[in-house]
């Protein structure tokens, strides 16, 4: 099978486990994001793929060949580090030419490739500039150019944008994504920023508690989280307990019944966790309870201009609803309110 395959990969430090039971297939030409909170083992996993950490168990195969024991310098993977790790004693051109120099590429070919790459990242005039004289975004681009100079089989990005300010980060996300698609290079990126992952990735691998929690497209991960961890980590969500009644109904802690999509894996009487996204909750002036429309009370309103976040107490659960000003129903704290939870927006989370 082509692409990068990880099988039962695990890393232990003494008795502590950094990451375990990782089974992944990363297809060629795609951008895969390892997303997870800090300390979840995502960087360790990336470093194992890079060859900078040894495996405690399992296998890493690239196009069918086991590369688990190959030292980093023989893998021909490009990597952009969190600190970028540009060589401060070399100019921009020398930095980019370094991997070519190591492989004995002739001076003229080195020069040609450097010029080509600088054109790609639009820093043609900077070739003789020392890297210390570049701005954050320019350094970022040089680090990427250096990483791809020798046509690596895989490009690894370890939180490469974390040093940039918010605005520049957003535009670099788009820039890197476009570059990756143009070069059609298999890329693995580590990030803890879910917005970044959603923007850039073809496939998101959610890591948490030292294991893979879910693998899927960004929308799958957001819309169909596999478990409570993913539901909680990706986006903001209302996660609430419920008891299964059967017939596609669950009961809330306050006793109200709720119609939800039928899910085969749950049994009557089981206690489950439910998810509904704040933007899916509909608020309206108080009306009689009917179907999935319940009565509740407003406990807090956070109006930040672009959106209004309303906190509602309803059937023993605290929900947060997100609405735009034009949908506004003029609610204030203490008022009764009707809350509609559309059945198709409710998600029963795997236990």
């Amino acid at each position: 099978m082509s692409g990068l395959i990880l099988e039962n990969v695990e890393k232990r430090y003494g008795s502590a486990c950094a990451v375990k039971d990782v089974n992944l297939h990363l297809p060629e030409g795609k951008l895969v994001c390892f997303l997870g909170p800090s300390g979840c083992g995502k960087t360790t996993l990336l470093r194992m793929i890079a060859g900078l950490e040894t495996l405690s168990g399992g296998e890493i195969r690239l196009d069918g060949e086991d590369i688990g024991q190959t030292p980093a310098h023989l893998r021909n993977f490009g990597m952009v580090f969190q600190s970028l790790a540009l060589f401060p004693h070399m100019t921009v051109g020398e930095n980019i030419a370094y991997p070519l120099k190591l492989r004995g590429v002739s001076k003229a070919d080195q020069q040609a490739r450097v010029v080509e790459l600088l054109e790609l990242i639009q820093l043609q005039q900077m070739i003789d500039r020392p890297v210390a004289k570049l701005s954050g975004g320019q350094r970022q681009r040089v680090a990427i150019a250096r990483a791809i100079a020798n046509h690596p089989k895989i490009l690894l990005l370890d939180e490469p944008l974390s040093a940039l300010d918010a605005k520049l980060r957003e535009s670099m996300q788009v820039e890197i994504r476009q570059l990756q698609q143009r070069l059609n290079i298999t890329t693995i990126m580590v990030t803890h920023d879910q917005r970044e992952a959603m923007t850039m990735a073809d496939i998101v691998v959610v890591l948490g508690e030292h294991r893979v929690q879910q693998v899927g497209t960004p929308i799958e991960i957001y819309r169909h989280p596999a478990n409570e961890f993913v539901a909680d980590f990706i986006g903001s969500g209302n996660i609430f307990p419920a008891t299964v009644l059967g017939n596609g109904k669950v009961s809330l802690p306050g006793g109200d019944a709720l119609q939800v999509p039928i899910c085969s894996s749950i049994v009557v009487g089981e206690k489950v966790k439910m998810l509904i996204r704040p933007e899916d909750l509909q608020l309206s002036q108080p009306q009689a309870t009917a179907g999935n429309r319940l009565l509740g009370k407003v406990t807090f309103v956070r109006d930040i201009g672009a959106t209004i976040e309303t906190t509602v107490e309803c059937s023993g659960v605290t929900f947060t609803a997100l609405s735009t000003p034009c949908q506004g129903v003029g609610l204030s704290v203490g008022h009764p309110v009707s809350v509609t939870l559309p059945a198709e927006a409710c998600r029963v989370l795997g236990a």
């Binding site: 980093a72 490009g78 580090f81 492989r103």
Partner: protein, 282 residues
Amino acid sequence: MSTLIKKRQSLLPGETGKFAGILSGFILLLAVLPILTMIVMSFSGSSNLDFPPSSYSLQWYKAAWHTFVSPDASDVLSLGKAMTTSLMVSCLTMVFATLIAVPAAYALTRCEFRGKAVAMQLMSLPLVFPMVVLGLALLLVFDSLPFQMTTSRLVIAHVILALPFVVKNCTAAMLSIGSEVEEAAQMLGASPLRAIVDVVVPLMKSGILAGMLLAFIVSFNEFTVTYFLYTIDVMTVPIWMYSRTVSSLDPTVFSFAVLIVLIDFVLIWALEKLVGEGGVSF
């Protein structure tokens, strides 16, 4: 009102500044006093070692020059020969100390191993060890060997003495180099050794140069330990000067000493230039 403010302003930082100025002036005076004495003595016009001299002349410089160009038969060893030995020992010390210190500094910062703290402590042992004891110990060791060592035993002793300074400077330089640049070089295709040569060593350059110059200075000025280890035909400049003073109370040494202090000054100045501010740790 405005005068009050003015007065308070001059009171606060100004007063402490003045005190600090006087204090540092005093300390500086203590530091340069021996050198000043030596310079004054080198211009003495009398033929004894009275201080201050009763008259001034350039006679000792003339005598020194004379000794340098045409040593008379009464000299056990010419200054030229001592100078050659000194320079050779200092250069070899510099080279060997650096060759040991660079890998040591790398290991001490990058690698985790048992007894690392002890190794760090042992590195600076020669700094606190009584020189006389060290000299005696080395003499006993070298004399027990079945073969004769002359210049080489001075080099070994000087390397031991210079090592803490070189290791300290190289370690300080190593500490500022993140492991990511080294890993980056490996990711780009450099073997671990190549990554060190291409990336780590160039980034350590200023620390290494500082260490080398310090090793040279330490070796060039070393007296106590060398005193135990020199032989009659292999002696360094400080030993040569000392032997001249004890045998004949010859003020010529002061003019030589001025020359040596000048050399040291140039070296230290070069050191500061190379490393910039705050880079050297003695």
